[in-house]
């Protein structure tokens, strides 16, 4: 009965409580220490980039919004900025300001969500319940402004669809005050709670050199000292009018990542209040041509998880030629495999959520390896055939 298990491998498989979305990790373990790790993704690949080629510019906006369940507004903003740059259209300042406002509210909602999920991975369910209860206030604000809790389509090509009325302005200020006071409490819990520090201090420490070599970006990278933030380096939308302070830490371990993300929350509150005080008057949208001129462009946006990168190519017709999305979780994902080695099995979920993975974000089309091992790009028919055979 006892088959030969030489290397005891633990599959953190597609369905596992530690991962909110499917991704397949295999850690080979002796006793409790991880010796090596491998990952296989692609479980939530939806062929969105292929889908956008078949739809016109307006319809592919809603498709790109549904790439990620948490940061949908950021994808829409990156896409709209790119297309507006291609079409050479100047978006009214009020629309840019509202875009930045909804982007910051979404960053608050995404960081709160991550705080809860990371605490749940460490077994600290009370913090999960508290942070998700406070996250409901942000969700209500977003629902008030845009009408939908998660995939809020606030952006339209050439501007914004929803306006900020007076009582929404008041509701946002009230919500932000309440959240700021709660976030101060969380910062104090995360930095002083003895039991929690035992699970986060000194776990998965990545010095700056290793972080740069692994290509960590976003809050994960900034926790190791890499000072790189698209909102500061290349301000887009209205970030040049409302500058953002760069927040970095040097320790590079999980606790530093907690601290960086919570400080970013404070930064977001400041920017939201600043926008509400100086919301410019004016139009919400501007007329967009149906056909976008020939050309290709790149638009970079700071998603809650890191730098989001859109490459848009148009061939003059009303459907995009090619849209390539590079989401922030992809570069961070490689670091999980390197960092997990040498740690306890119990720390793996913590390391995994340390990079704030969004699997549905990074399941882009990867080059398909056939059994021969040499990777070649497959044609459309070959891909369908491969799919059908795979499941026969």
């Amino acid at each position: 009965m006892q088959s030969k298990i030489d290397k005891f491998t633990i599959p953190i498989g597609p369905q596992h409580p530690a991962l909110k979305e499917p991704g397949h990790f295999e850690f080979s373990v002796d006793g409790e220490i991880v010796t090596d790790a491998s990952v296989r993704l692609g479980y939530v690949h939806r062929g969105i980039e292929k889908g956008t080629e078949g739809r016109n510019w307006v319809q592919s906006l809603y498709l790109l919004e549904r790439i990620c369940g948490i940061c949908s507004h950021v994808h829409a903003t990156a896409y709209c900025l790119g297309v507006e740059k291609l079409a050479g259209v100047e978006v009214p300042p009020r629309a840019q300001a509202i875009r930045v406002l909804v982007a910051e509210l979404e960053r608050v909602h995404s960081h709160m969500l991550w705080l809860g999920v990371a605490a749940h991975e460490a077994g600290f369910d009370t913090l999960f319940m508290y942070s998700w209860r406070d996250r409901e206030t942000v969700m209500n604000l977003l629902e008030g402004i845009t009408g939908n809790r998660v995939n809020y389509s606030a952006n339209v090509l050439g501007g914004v669809k929803c306006d900020i009325s007076a009582e929404q302005d008041e509701a946002i200020r009230q919500g932000v005050d309440f959240l700021e006071e709660r976030t101060r409490h969380y910062l104090e819990v995360v930095t002083s709670d003895m039991m929690f520090l035992r699970r986060t201090r000194g776990v998965a420490t990545t010095p700056k050199a290793q972080a740069r070599e692994l290509g960590l970006i976003g809050p994960t990278g900034r926790a190791s000292g890499i000072s790189h933030d698209v909102r500061v380096d290349a301000p887009y939308a209205a970030y040049d009018i409302y500058p953002v302070k760069l927040i970095t830490a040097t320790a590079g371990d999980l606790e530093a990542r907690f601290i960086v993300r919570i400080n970013e929350l404070f930064e977001s509150y400041r920017v939201i209040r600043q926008i509400l005080d100086t919301l410019p008057e004016g139009e919400l949208t501007v007329r967009m041509p149906r056909r976008i001129k020939e050309g290709e462009t790149v638009s970079r946006v700071e998603a809650p998880r890191g730098e989001l990168f859109y490459f848009i190519k148009s061939n003059g017709t009303d459907t995009p030629e090619r849209i390539k999305v590079r989401t922030p979780t992809l570069p961070n994902m490689a670091s999980v495999l390197v960092l997990a080695i040498g740690h306890q099995l119990a720390d793996i979920p913590m390391i995994l959520t340390g990079i704030d993975p969004c699997f549905s974000c990074n399941d882009r089309m990867v080059v398909v390896k056939d059994s021969g091992g040499d990777n070649r790009a497959m044609t459309w028919e070959a891909l369908r055939q491969y799919g059908i055979e795979y499941y026969r």
């Binding site: 597609p14 369905q15 939806r46 062929g47 969105i48 292929k50 498709l63 369940g69």
Partner: protein
Amino acid sequence: MGVTNKLGEMGVVTLRLEEAVNWARTNAMWPMLFGLACCAIEMMSTQASNYDMSRFGMELMRPSPRQSDLMIVAGRVSRKMAPVLRRLYDQMPDPKWVLSMGDCASCGGVFNNYAIVQGVDEIVPVDVYVAGCPPRPEQLMHGIITLHERIKQNRLADWA
């Protein structure tokens, strides 16, 4: 049905085995953690304090398929995920139900292309479809309540 007619509804005294087991099944249904995408986020917020699912007996989000009896397919099922979903469904012990949450799980929703399974009912028999992209926590709970209503009418005959 003689007893209840004669004595009338006397609560526990005239409780039939069927009603007892149906009551137990609806009030202690353990969902299996099967989040795929944005709907998983809404499923988790149904679990959190604001829309507490533990009132319906779903506090223990059972990760292992062995111990769960309701599979909430929350999110889009890609072709690569289909065999995994089917194997998980087969591992669940017998009285099991499937609630397909959100458009992408119910009918492929927005993604009508090669990568997404057009509707989970191609792979597993689905009991309740909840519309919405993603459905609000209240919508999910409304779906769960409709599922509970359906189970309450289960006859003893169809178990035996």
